[in-house]
Amino acid sequence: MTGESRPDPEALLAAIKRFEDRHNRGKLKIFFGMSAGVGKTYAMLKAAHKLKQEGVDVVVGYAETHGRSETDELLAGLELLQRIRIDYNGIIIEDFDLDAAIRRKPQVILVDELAHTNAEGMRHLKRYNDVVELMDNRINVYTTLNVQHVKSQSDVVEQITGVKVRETVPDSILDLADSIELIDISPEGLLKRLSEGKVYIPEKAELAAARFFRKGNITALREMALNYVAKSVDNDMRDYMRAQNISGPWKAGDRLMVAVSPSPYSEYLIRWTRRMAFNLRASWVALYIEKQKTLSDQDQRCLTKNLNLARELGAEVISTIDEDIVAGLIRVAGQRNITQIVVGKPLRPYLTDYFYGGNLVERLLKKSGDIEIHIVSQPSVMPKKKELFQNWTLRGGFNEYLIALASVIIITLLNFILVHFTGYWTIALVYLLYISVAALFIGRGAVFLSALLSSVAWNFLFIPPLLTFRIGKIEDIVMFVTYFIIAFIIGGLTSKLHEKEWALAVREKRISGLYEFSKIIGNAVDIDESISISVRYFEEIFAAETAFILADDSGNLGNAEHEKSSLDIGSNGMGVAEWVFSNRKAAGIGTETLPQAGALYIPLNSGGYMTGVLCTRRVDGNEFTFEQNNYLMNIAYLLSMRFQKDMVSEKGRKTKLIEESERLYRILLNSLSHELRTPLTTITGASSSLMDEVVISKPETRNSLVMEINRAGVKLNRLVDNLLDMSRLESGMLKLNLGRHDISDLASAAMRELAPDLINHKVIIDIADDLPMIHMDFVLMEQVLINLVYNAVNYTAPGTEIIIKSNLHQDHIIISVSDNGPGLDPADIPGLFDKFKRGVSTKPGGTGLGLSICRGIVEAHNGTITARNSPGSGADFIVTLPLNNENYE
């Protein structure tokens, strides 16, 4: 095939991605050995010395010398990182200080014992998590590892040595290694070192060690170690050959898929597939096919364990819903371009095999087409299923069996009546009808029970001779056997159809659930609403409390939960959230990082843009199931996209706001400088004129100039008052000094104040005599009137009339200021009372504050102010104040 000589594009892409990932992160070197005592730590320290000589900044993060003198000596001359001390129930435990290492940020750090399990209370469960974080921080790491701690090898080690390996490292971590250096020693050499006491063995493990360190075991382990390293070298070479387009013996683009079930047997299948995939250098998928049947707690645990194992071993874990495992396998294989499927060998024949036309393997072989099928048999050490009928769970289905029993009894009673009219053969048809209907509503087991019971009932109660199981006539025997078979087939087929429908419905429900969620999130007006919707949603769907911590404008994580959150994560939780945010990985319950955190922390990452962290916790404190986890991740993705969109538009809005306030600022400065300069110019000009000898000799001119100076001063004062009023209104510091006052009093006071400006205008005051006194702040309301009249003076030609009117209208007092000038530009009327708003066609000058101050003051009095063009000509400004105005303040 020509395809085989060409590098597979996907494989090339994967290699590029690996290369880029490696480029962006620190490098990992593993000193790999077959067991303790081969000298890995020694070799690592030696290498560190060499690096130091070359001028590399190298630090010993954690090295366990177990008091061996030659290793201890090597520590001298190297920088040692202070270990963290943790008080664990009164016992002080020393451990590797990850944060200190990240702060120190050396070029190379030595961290011994990759498989080590961290002390409780540390950030990560395992040391390899620490190592990954170090690499993410672009620190190169040297570490040590024994072959028995490699996850995919641990079961083999257990089989060989009989020692259960507890601390394991996922193979995916080993895949990250840039180089693996094998530290080898002959079995004889190791045994010699052991007898010389040079191999560290914890005291309590001496017995196990004696079993472990047998020559046969050591040889086997050595072979495994050599084999493992040889394979990884081989894979490296293949990567290289692929990149260089050197043709090789591989079959390009293999993808493996293993079917995972809650059975403990699956674990073996998963490991087998991992080894196979590793040897083929292929990617692999672990598929769980969900059925209608609810899993028992134990099965659920077992399944989660199996799936986690697959994930740790580097599989992509997916799940689908299908009643028929074969159909599910074939469907997903098609979707994912799977080339090889791994399934377990069936342990025993099932009754259902006959309905489906062969057992799982037979049917899979028939339908698989091009796909290769591996059938892996179960090793003998695997525990057998305890009970044959454990699978036949009654949980949830128990009621169905009761219903089946009851229905058969009812139908039988009906048949007792019917039999007198129709004869006993028709009874069989009635039973069949019942079974086909029942299969639509109850599970398969219950249908079969119905079929069995009904056939027994028919035989015993209706077929002569009655009340015996004996059947007399030959045609009755044929009839009975036929009935029995038809009942089972109809029951089986109908319930299969029903189950298929159900699976489809569940799949659809999940998709439509996501769709619904995205729809309601899409309808939310802002982030706040999206969050409160999500919090409610999480409560309903997962019975979980939820907190959101969002990124701020500068792209850092905020320092508190969003106010709509229903979960208080506390300062420890914030620490976890910080970690999740900067590392873009989930942490907390059900993960390997900070599993003791009590809640699940999911990064809200949309296309590389971090919008925050979602933190959720089931009210019952349990882990989320695999399904829920998947669903959560999908929702987190939807949310982060939504948040990103909002944050971007929010940023745009803020920028606009800043631009707008800058514009207002410019307008204010311009108008202020104009407003200030006019009186200042008058004062400067007039006062300098007063020093002029020519002017001094003319008393009339002098008086006029002094008057101008005075007026300019008043104008300046008015401007300052307006500015102060505005800032008091803005800051909410405006306190009304309320008292009962007369409107006509108010008008005359304002007129006195404005007298110098009113020379050229005629003011008509028309105030009804019977107006009651009104509750108001006299000085402020006078300011309103002054501003309105002053505007009228400024915007109309000399000689124009200005009318101040006041009357009672229901329970309001209306004060209006009208002129017969040119009126308002209709375009100006909306927003006329806004701050710094200047009319479209108004002349320059004026602060644009007067009317907005009027509104502020009137509204503080619970009143309204409006403007309109009067029917004739000119503008009307109308202030409405409530008469009964005593209850505000």
């Binding site: 006019t678 400067t684 000009g685 002029d692 000058g845």
Partner: protein, 228 residues
């Protein structure tokens, strides 16, 4: 009073117009007022003022456009009232034909001096007479410059510069106007040359060149020779 020179004030602020009218009338000027550019242009053609005081901030039209409109048909001196921080506007105005400018707020003495300088400029007899200011005497016909009765030796360029400033004494000249006059139109408007000449000239004609009393710098705009 009504026989004095006619001054047209174009300004939209009534208060400033009133103040100017009072001060100018006291000094014998006849004052006409206009509140908009439109009205100002009308008055300028009807009343035939001897000088126009033009506010830059008019409601209906920009100051520069109003000036150009006036310059379209009239050589009447124009003094512009502007605000601070608009050197570029000032230069543009002066280059477009304004005779002088004043920054608000201003002293009346200053305005009167500018008015006098602008009005004197239109009486065309300075060029062949004698100019004297603060002990500095320029005899244009003999081409002799003296300070405190001591003759000063000037290079041809320095003399041309001094003569140009003296002919426009009291009035600001922009860098461009000076460069065009001295080196011809279309010369590279490199003001640093001009600065060097002004510096040299000051050393010769000023009592204290570091604190000039006659040749004044108008920051960002140009130079002015005071007639004291």
């Amino acid at each position: 009073m009504s026989d004095g020179p006619v001054i047209l004030i174009i300004d939209d602020e009534a208060q400033i117009r009133r103040m100017l009218r009072l001060s100018l009338e006291a000094h014998g000027f006849t004052v006409k007022e206009a509140t908009t550019a439109q009205e100002g242009l009308q008055q300028a053609s009807l009343a035939r003022p001897d000088l126009i005081i033009l506010d830059l901030n008019l409601p209906d039209k920009g100051g520069l456009e109003t000036l150009k409109d006036i310059r379209g048909w009239s050589r009447t001196p124009v003094i512009v009232l502007s605000v601070r921080n608009s050197e570029q506007d000032k230069i543009e105005l002066l280059d477009s034909g304004a005779d002088d400018y004043l920054t608000k707020p201003f002293g009346m003495g200053e305005l009167l001096a500018r008015i006098r300088a602008a009005l004197r400029h239109i009486t065309p007899d300075t060029a062949d007479g004698v100019f004297s200011s603060g002990g500095l005497v320029i005899d244009f016909s003999r081409r002799i410059v003296t300070r405190q009765n001591e003759e000063i030796k000037l290079t041809p360029t320095e003399y041309s510069l001094l003569k140009l400033l003296a002919c426009n004494a009291g009035k600001v000249l922009t860098h461009n106007q000076i460069i065009d006059e001295l080196w011809g139109l279309g010369s590279q408007p490199d003001t640093s040359y001009l600065r060097v000449y002004v510096l040299q000239l000051r050393k010769k004609i000023e009592k204290d060149p570091s604190n000039p009393g006659i040749l004044i710098t108008e920051p960002g705009v140009g130079y002015r020779l005071l007639s004291i």
